[in-house]
Each structure stands twice: as C-alpha cells, then as structure tokens.
Symmetry: C2
Subunit: 362 residues, 2 copies
C-alpha cells in the first residue's frame, strides 16, 4: 500500500527503514506440488494427535487458563531427547522467534556480527531490526564456509549448519575451530536441517561456554504448522534469552504447541524412521537429477540446491510452476542459477523428475 | 541464577540492564481457587473444539505445512465480528506480542510516551526493551485518568481501558478528547477487558488516523491458553505493525490458534451470553464484599480492585492463599492496600466470600 509522508510521521523513525523478511509463498491451489518451503512430506507422529485431543477434553476447558509461561514440560521433553540438562533449554514460537531473541540477547555489540553472504535471509532482517552491526563473509567458490574467515574481531557469529539454501554441512571439527578462535563471542549454530544427515553441535554445548545451538520442529518433526523452536546452551546464555523473552512476551507457547511438541519429542522411533525416509528419497532424487544434467550441491538437508547449466534457473522455476510444481528461486547474486528443491515423497519427487524429463527438457 | 561478570560479557550490553515482566503465577495445586490472572471461569465456545478437531483430520497432516503467515482467515473473522474492513486488522501471538510490536512501531520517538502510573506493568518493560522514552502520569486520587494531563508534548500515548488493575472505565468521550488533543501522536487504547461492560474505541477508528485499539481473546473469549491478540487501526498504522512483525517472526500464529480463534469470533451468541454471566456475577460479588466492609472501585472488567480498611491487603492475600484462594497483590506505591480479584463463577465467588466471612474476618 501507499503511505503518505504525512501518515508516515506516526511510525517510529527506524521502522520507516525496515526491509522485512519475505517468506516462501503458501499458495492455496489444488493439486499443487509444493517443494518451496522445506516442509516434511509426512505427517507428524500419531502421538501428536492424541496429545492435542487431551487438551480438548472437558470442552477444552484447559484453554481458558494461561499456559505455563516457562513451558517447563516442553523444556523437559527436549532436554530428555537432546540428552542435556533442562537448564540448557530455551523454547520459542518457532525458531524464527528464538533467533530474534538470540540477535537481541547477544549480538547488539560494538563489533560486527559475522555471517556468510549466502545463508538464511532473515539474518540481515533481524540485524536491521535490532540495530546489529554486521560483516558479511563470502562463501568460497564451492559455496563452503571458510573457517579462517571467522578468526577476526567480531561481536558474534551465526552459521546455519547445514547451510541454507546451499544444503552443505561444515562438520563439527570446523565448528569447534570457530568456537575456539572466538572465546569472547557467542557463536550460534542454526541447525534447522541438522536431522537430515549432519552432526549436531549440541554435543559441544557442555564444552563451550560461547555456543548456542538453535533447532526447530518445523522440518524433521513435521510441525511447521505449530511454531515451536528451541535453543541449547549453557545456563548463563539461556538466562539472557529468558530475560529478552520475558521483556517481550511472557506466554509465547500456547497449550496446543506445548502438548503437541512434547508428544513429538517423546516419539523418537517415529522421528528417526521418518528422517531416514527423507534421506533415502533425497539420494534417489539427486541421482535422477544428475542423470538429467543437473549439478547438485552435496546435501545434508531435506532440500537440495541444484543448477542446470543448459537452462536459466529463473525460467526453469517458472516452467515448473506452470505445471503445478513450486520450488524456491532466489534472484540474488551468486545463486540466481540455482533452484532450492524440497525433498518430497518418492512419488512427488518422481513427478518432478518426470515433468522435467518429459515436458520441460524433452 | 548467578551469572558471573565474566559470563556476562556474552550478553548484549542493553540486555544486562533489563528488568523483565513477571506474570501472575500459574500454580499446579489441586482444588485451588485461582482468581489471580483474570481468566474466564467458563470454557470457550464449543465451536472451538470442532475447529481444532478439523486441524487434526488425516493424522494432523495439516501440521506439516507452515500456517498462512498473514493469518488472513483470522483477520477476516475478526473484521466481520468487529465490523471493520479487513485492512484494519492486525493479529499477534497474544495481545502481549501485539503490544510489543506497537511499542516498536510507534513509540521509539524523541518525545516521551505517556501512560498512567498505575496501569499494565508490562508497559515500562516494553519501553526499556525498545528504548522508548517515557513520562509516567499519575492517576488522580480516585484512580481515574485525568484527560488534561494528556495534552502535553509526547511521542505517543497508551491507555488501558478499562484500566488495570483499577478496573475503571474512562468512557469514549474522554478518549476522543485525548485523540483530538494529539493529532501527531499515536494513541493506543488497550482494551483487554472491554467486553465486560465498557464501550470499545473500535467505533472511533474510522474517524481518527492516530488511533490503535488493541484487544485479546484471553479474557472474554476464554482463550488465554491459545495466545491470540489483535489490533484495529487505519491501514497506514497496520502497515507499520506488519513491517515490524515481518522483521521479527513471519509465522507467529500456529494452525490451532488460527482455527480456534476463527471459531470463537464466529460464535457471537456464546460470547455475549458468557460475558453477561461474568458481569452478573461481578455485581453480586461486589455487593457481597461491600457488606463485609470492602471498598471496591467501580469495575467494567472481569476483575475488581478492592481494599478492606480494617486489614492489610498483603496479609489478607496471604491468608486467602493459606485457604487455597489466590488473588493478585501488587506490593507497589498507592495500590499496596488493594487486592485484584478475578470474577469466578457464582460458586467460586461464594467460596471467596464465605472464606472471608467465616474464616478470615470472623
């Protein structure tokens, strides 16, 4: 909408300059194959349904009461699953909210926050929102993080691992090197996609007082519709996140979110089986796309980042869309010849491959 | 917990100074009469249960997909119920989140934000969090807002109406006077309790380009456990809130929250009947407490603010608590001889009155 200069006087001056994040679209078209926002193709654990049914007992009388502002039950379930003490767990309304609190809690410093040029595009948005100084570090030509670049003065570091949209995993040894080189900065490892084949840095939390690991239930737990994210860190860092959270919103987690996420964390078997299915489907899809001439970066995520030398990626995305398949295309420097494709079921992936093979590239 | 100076180096400097909000306690004791956080004594509309059941269909497959980041369906339901265009609706994860976004969007100005000395105690917390300059305006000796005090240079005004914890309603004529006196400031009317007998300022939104009205589903809709709040304002103000929201968290409303709140807004009959019950119970309780010697401020809310000249309020709160009844006591200047008591069912209120009459004041 158009806002006049006169109307703009009501806005806080800094808000007039904001460039908000634009999420992947959520179209409401029938029979669409939606491979654009890295959702899981399988439903959540059946225990989730039971847990929500329980909240609805007695005419949903539980809903008239505020939820536990601390979401203790959820923190305990996460602590158990992650094998950490409950004092090392923070929860929020999706990992996006957890990340927002992380930026405010740790990164508003004189020295700049470091992050890669190609990574989660919400980081520059949070930085602007909270007034965080930043220094963007280019990935190398293979789209990898170069550890030595993170050995310069800084007020914090945030790395997505596996990185997005590249899907590349940097490995725990490299993460430890970053942690050791920066004993006075908070290093955040954003592990939204870690459950699809990468090794989690949660195992390093006990050893490093400067480490925060952030995860989400949106991908590997099929709970994108629920909005539950969490962070694991030593208690002196969790305390900063709690101070920020309790200065913003006392009760961010509703009763359904708490109950459903607890049930998900308690069903380890379903979780592992489901992730293995996604990983197996990914390997099949990568092989099929390679046959069609795609170059696919090595993926440890539930998506792949692929380019086709013979065809413009923007055009390819448009042609897929005309055929009812949506993938994510970023019209940005360095990556505007790639498509980010979410791993679907084998049947869905086959539809993508067939459409490419028989219709677009035929 | 104790955080050492050395550990504190990891925190953003401003976060080290935060004094977070402390919500009313949510104890997990059996047979407790909980009259401390202004929850509704009745369950939500039965339609809420049906709506949530629908999200659970097909093994809750809907949960694997992100919700609509714009929560359009919910905005439409609110617009219809409030009789405003959908472009005038903003939604958030509880009215606490909506208020947080309001502070960031409008109140970070050179001139100070004005609000009463006795009001929602989250306002100073938001102000510190976002770096908002403030000037606190004392209520008069009857705990009323004096309109003339809000005719001085300012960078915004926020008024809770009915005010909390006083329960006193200032009336729309007085609100219009504040709006007219401040054509260059955003005036926010926080109407968390408006449905229990006060007149809403939503009817003024079309007329005043500087008005934002904030409401919640936590009280009058029995959905405290769900976390849904909203704001009504002209589109040039809604746009600022959207810019802030989309710089913080794209998907704050989960699928259950959207579906359940929509169902609640569509059941106007249940909503009105339930509020009338609470109002009737309030009038009975006020009369009974007056008989016991309490002075009760005139209430337009689902709580009352009462003092007993013959007894210290802190002691009274403690004695009620020993008998399984929790009310809210604020150990703060001017109001430390008052108790804030949530209106329960008639049976619950009778238990309070009987306990006072037969045990504490006998």
């Amino acid at each position: 909408m158009n806002i006049t200069t006169e109307q703009m006087r009501f806005w806080s001056p800094a808000v007039r300059e904001l460039e908000p994040y634009v999420p992947g679209e959520q179209p409401k078209i029938q029979n669409l194959l939606k491979l654009n926002t890295n959702e899981n193709p399988y439903p959540p654990s059946p225990k989730v349904v039971e847990a929500v049914q329980k909240v609805l007992e007695n005419s949903a009388d539980a809903l008239r009461l505020y939820p536990d502002p601390d979401a203790s039950e959820l923190k305990q379930a996460i602590a158990k699953q992650q094998q950490v003490p409950v004092e090392q767990v923070f929860v929020g309304n999706g990992s996006d909210e957890v990340l927002a609190h992380i930026f405010k809690a740790f990164f508003v410093q004189d020295l700049p926050l470091l992050y890669p040029d190609i990574t989660y595009s919400f980081y520059p948005v949070y930085s602007q929102f909270f007034g965080v100084n930043t220094q963007v570090i280019p990935l190398n030509d293979n789209f990898e993080i170069v550890v030595d670049d993170y050995k310069q003065p800084n007020g914090g570091i945030i790395i997505t691992n596996p990185n997005a949209p590249t899907s590349i995993d940097m490995g725990l040894a490299a993460i430890e090197e970053v942690l050791q080189a920066n004993p006075n900065s908070v290093v955040v490892i954003d592990e939204a996609y870690v459950d699809f084949g990468a090794e989690s840095a949660v195992s390093l939390v006990e050893k490093y007082e400067n480490l925060v690991v952030c995860q989400t239930t949106s991908k590997s737990r099929s709970l994108a519709g629920l909005r539950v994210g969490f962070a694991i860190a030593q208690p002196h860092l969790i305390a900063a996140l709690e101070a920020v959270k309790n200065s913003f919103n006392s009760y961010p987690m509703d009763r359904f979110a708490i109950a459903a996420a607890v049930a998900s964390f308690e069903d380890q078997e379903y979780f592992e089986a489901q992730n293995q299915k996604v990983i197996a489907s990914r390997e099949t899809l990568v092989a099929q796309l390679a046959e069609l001439g795609f170059k696919v970066l090595p993926s440890s995520a539930n998506f792949i980042f692929a380019s086709l030398p013979s065809k413009d990626a923007g055009e390819l995305a448009a042609e897929l869309r005309e055929r009812g398949i949506i993938v994510r295309y970023f019209n940005k420097p360095r990556i505007n010849q790639f498509l980010r494709i979410t791993i679907g079921t084998d049947e869905q992936n086959q539809r993508l491959v067939d459409t490419l093979k028989n219709e677009i590239l035929a």
